[in-house]
Point group: C2
Chain length 452, copies 2
Amino acid sequence: MAKVTPRTLSGFMELLPADQIKFERMLESLRRSYETYGFTPLDTPVIESAEVLLAKGGGETEKQIYRFQKGDSDLALRFDLTVPLAKYVAAHAAELSFPFRRYQIGKVYRGERAQRGRFREFYQADIDVIGDGKLDILNEAEIPAVIYHTFKSLGLSKFRIRVNNRKLLNGFYELNGMSEKAGEIMRAVDKLDKIGALKVKQLLIDEVKMLPDKSENVLDFMAIQGDTAYVLSRLEEYRQLGSELFNTGLDELIAVTRYLRDFGVPEENFAIDLTIARGLDYYTGTVYETTMTEHPEIGSICSGGRYDNLAEYYTDRQLPGVGISIGLTRLFYVLGEQGLLSDELVTAPCDALVLPMTEDLGAAVAAATALRAGGVRTQLYFEKKKFKAKMSYADRLGVPFAVLVGEDEVNEGVVSVKDMRSGEQVKLAPAEAARRIRAAADAQNGAAVIKE
Amino acid sequence: MAKVTPRTLSGFMELLPADQIKFERMLESLRRSYETYGFTPLDTPVIESAEVLLAKGGGETEKQIYRFQKGDSDLALRFDLTVPLAKYVAAHAAELSFPFRRYQIGKVYRGERAQRGRFREFYQADIDVIGDGKLDILNEAEIPAVIYHTFKSLGLSKFRIRVNNRKLLNGFYELNGMSEKAGEIMRAVDKLDKIGALKVKQLLIDEVKMLPDKSENVLDFMAIQGDTAYVLSRLEEYRQLGSELFNTGLDELIAVTRYLRDFGVPEENFAIDLTIARGLDYYTGTVYETTMTEHPEIGSICSGGRYDNLAEYYTDRQLPGVGISIGLTRLFYVLGEQGLLSDELVTAPCDALVLPMTEDLGAAVAAATALRAGGVRTQLYFEKKKFKAKMSYADRLGVPFAVLVGEDEVNEGVVSVKDMRSGEQVKLAPAEAARRIRAAADAQNGAAVIKE
């Protein structure tokens, strides 16, 4: 028979078992973290009506979208989790309680040009808090706590949550009479890290057509950095200039940073960063980026912000919110590239591999049943192979414990538990074997996914 | 601005938060159960090359498939998890260890005609054990244990795992010189439950064109039922007739049922059912169906079987296996319809809702941080509303505990924990509050999803 080559499309991540287990642990850790902060899980269809999904229309996104006909229906695959959330909240508003806090972890689709580290199918892990009509600023203050706890749970500690405020930024541009150039300025400022202040100043003069002293103002402002108290004190100097927008933004920034310590966010994992803008239209208040301090080249691994109108394409109802998103597939990929995925996690499908060594398998099966009842992930090896082949299978899988059941064990009513790392082997009653293996497994499986 | 109606496509399940939490608990329970039996999680793309996905070609499935062009690529959405598994194993065989045991829980797509209880996007939850060249019969014997444990963990006890063997069945048809009519006979026999033996006999005579005595033979055979030992003893009577195929099938059935007790499967949840066939081409040995004993009308909620050649369209490598699949979305739907989803699960996004009642939120925030550190799913309520509105929000969400932080509590360094069910309210130090709420939550969240 002619064969079809079994291939996976480029730009689609498909992991081998050991890596898949690490990815699953990451998903698990995120779910637990988001739930700790009182977010409810949500699941929406991957396919939506194209009209609904593209209600906002236009832009880069539309070109990348997977869109197709099925019968008479014009369909499309979701390209993020925000549009489906907007649809969901608009459609079910009457049945929801506000503030509505949801998390969603799911695959989204963008037909980008395939390149290393870029994915066409990738997981996003989003949280959002949606208010009905209004939403207190303190919801924005809590987000850094969620980000901090989430990455900390994954095993990361060398990261910084960078926060800015769009009102503050727009107020500043207003103060300088540069509001209509705000977009261009932000794009130039965005290059600060890469090309430095001098070249950005030149860009502002040459391309944005700003006067030298105005561009100086911009660079002076963007250069304000340091600990939170210091940055806020420097920003206070602008208050007297009388931009209502700026002053509101500053008040919001003060509110957002006021309870940081009570939220458990250490100063070293947090910074006000005035260079952050995050797109143009959508965000209206606090904006967030998160960078790995030793790998700035990776860019932001968790971003988001405050918006005033989640679902304006679907409803007149004012639905302000604040949210963040983690691009999980890419994060997992770069962590792997950087060698930051822990080798301490058990990546075997089981913690105990039961190897029967008698004709009658009753005792081995009963032992496996006892281990499972004791919460041990257990595989029974049924194939008729030599002992060496069985042990080599256990080795290849990286199983922590082999459980041998031979004539002697059957007669004594015990099993032989072999620690595959130390080589140590002890005879134990099945229930006791379950307790010991479970304890060892819990310790190992509790390891964080990321090891810095 | 003109609005687009926010709608979800028909045939796509989208749940409200309380139901979504039940669904998530079901997913969690399945993952844990499959992992207990030593299956490793797998994730494959939703989109595959149409050539790869449709390598087998033809059939009902092809008409239902979501297939589309993107650029030059002919793409399709997976319609089950078996074809992607075949592709995966064929592509990665060199990097896998056999037997390869994987589970996959994911969405699949079939553009069926929409009707009540039928879904175009639905979750399947599959396990498979794949051998390289051969696979011991005892892998087939373990499957009922996985099914039993999985449904038991979900809270179901009134179900029966029904097992048959295709070799036995084909051997029986061979003995009766009816091999070429086997397909038609099986289709008629499949109606036994619905129309009864007499009408099936008439069907066999009128439509399948069988002689009356032959059709009698079929019905006599299918009527063999009872406990496992009895059915096996009746089947032994056919052994002397000399069909090698039948006798192999009988030996397999004996092997599959031999260790049932050691596997922990109670006799009342198990039955040999000679009327089960499960399709025509694919299965070659043991086949499984699972029915809810008080809701036979729902049909099989977990089915599968043994096959000899998982990936013949992709590789010459012989890859026999055994697997089962649960159609989760439909199962969840019918459980809901039957009122079998438990009301005891906490369906609130959090176990504790912290209600600050002072101007300065420091103490409330710190209390929430302490609760979270203690593993309590905690929401902080930030909106400036009257006390009554706050409590009504807690009620609507079904939050088990409200945690009040007012002037008195701040001064005393405690929080007031209000049990929302009993109305009882006590003052506790935050760490002690965390312990109590966590203990109560663990007890409640441990409830099974299904309540019979």
